[in-house]
Symmetry: C2
Subunit: 165 residues, 2 copies
């Protein structure tokens, strides 16, 4: 039994099969079930049998994680989607829109950091008050200005007087 192929009648999956198909460890699946992210039926002997719809739920959870949600938040989001059938566009659209906004925000943040790093390549600073990286909460766009300190132009705040610890 390779556990990868689906061979149960009725299209149900053992935990090993679900693991193989979802890319998650069996331990993770049991953990998810405990958290009620997925559910199963049991055989007479007590073994889990998963409906194929669980693959969809797992895909959802994985996507949720990538968007930055915790498993708890994923569970909440799942609760708003239909349990037994594939979500319809009407179910899905609001969730997807919310997630896209989060993704956009994340991308924007990364792009800001990227720009700051570019600036810092130019200035080699990390010591200047104006340096985006240095300044924790600047959020104010200092984007273009970075190239000012091009040639190791030393900062006004005399930093030179210090010796190492």
């Amino acid at each position: 039994m390779t556990s990868t192929g689906e061979r149960l009648p009725g299209g149900e999956l053992t935990i090993g099969e679900l693991a193989a198909r979802s890319g998650l460890a069996t331990s993770a699946l049991r953990y998810y079930e405990q958290l009620e992210l997925i559910s199963s039926e049991r055989t007479a002997g007590g073994q889990r049998r998963y409906h194929r719809a669980m693959l969809r739920r797992l895909a959802f959870v994985r996507a949720a994680q990538r968007v930055g949600l915790s498993l708890d938040e994923a569970r909440e989001a799942l609760a708003r989607l239909p349990e037994n059938h594939a979500p319809k566009a009407a179910d899905w659209a609001p969730v997807a829109r919310t997630w896209q906004r989060r993704i956009d925000a994340q991308i924007a943040e990364l792009e800001l950091l990227r720009r700051k790093l570019s600036g810092c390549i130019g200035c080699g600073c990390l010591s200047l008050k104006k340096c985006g990286l240095y300044n924790p909460d600047d959020s104010a766009a200092d984007l273009g200005t970075g190239a000012r300190y091009l040639l190791g132009d030393e900062p006004p705040t005399k930093e030179g007087a210090f010796r190492r610890p």
Copy 2:
């Protein structure tokens, strides 16, 4: 004593001041010092006094975290920069370039996810074989369990809860 203002002569900072200026908790600073991310001198009475250059190191560490590095990796990266003075362009450029590549990869991943979500708005699926979200093995699903809050964007519960098995 508000602990925010700098008032020691010689420009040294108490741990409270460094905390206020860096935005980190004092406990985090002690922890960082333990990890040798920063260093201090001590007063006769045993209290820490931080050189202002530590602000620069902390800025670096914060940036490193946002790029997705662990504190250990941040320490390694720090080790390649000059300790006592602001890094020059030659010191900084290779680091910044490496980080930019990482950022680019992260942005690319997010953009892929975003596209997939767009597709799913259209199809309302999550159940179809062709659905990008559904299909698990499209590689590099690293953001999921990896560097999730590298954007500093709203950690799920308390400030600064990072994770990763």
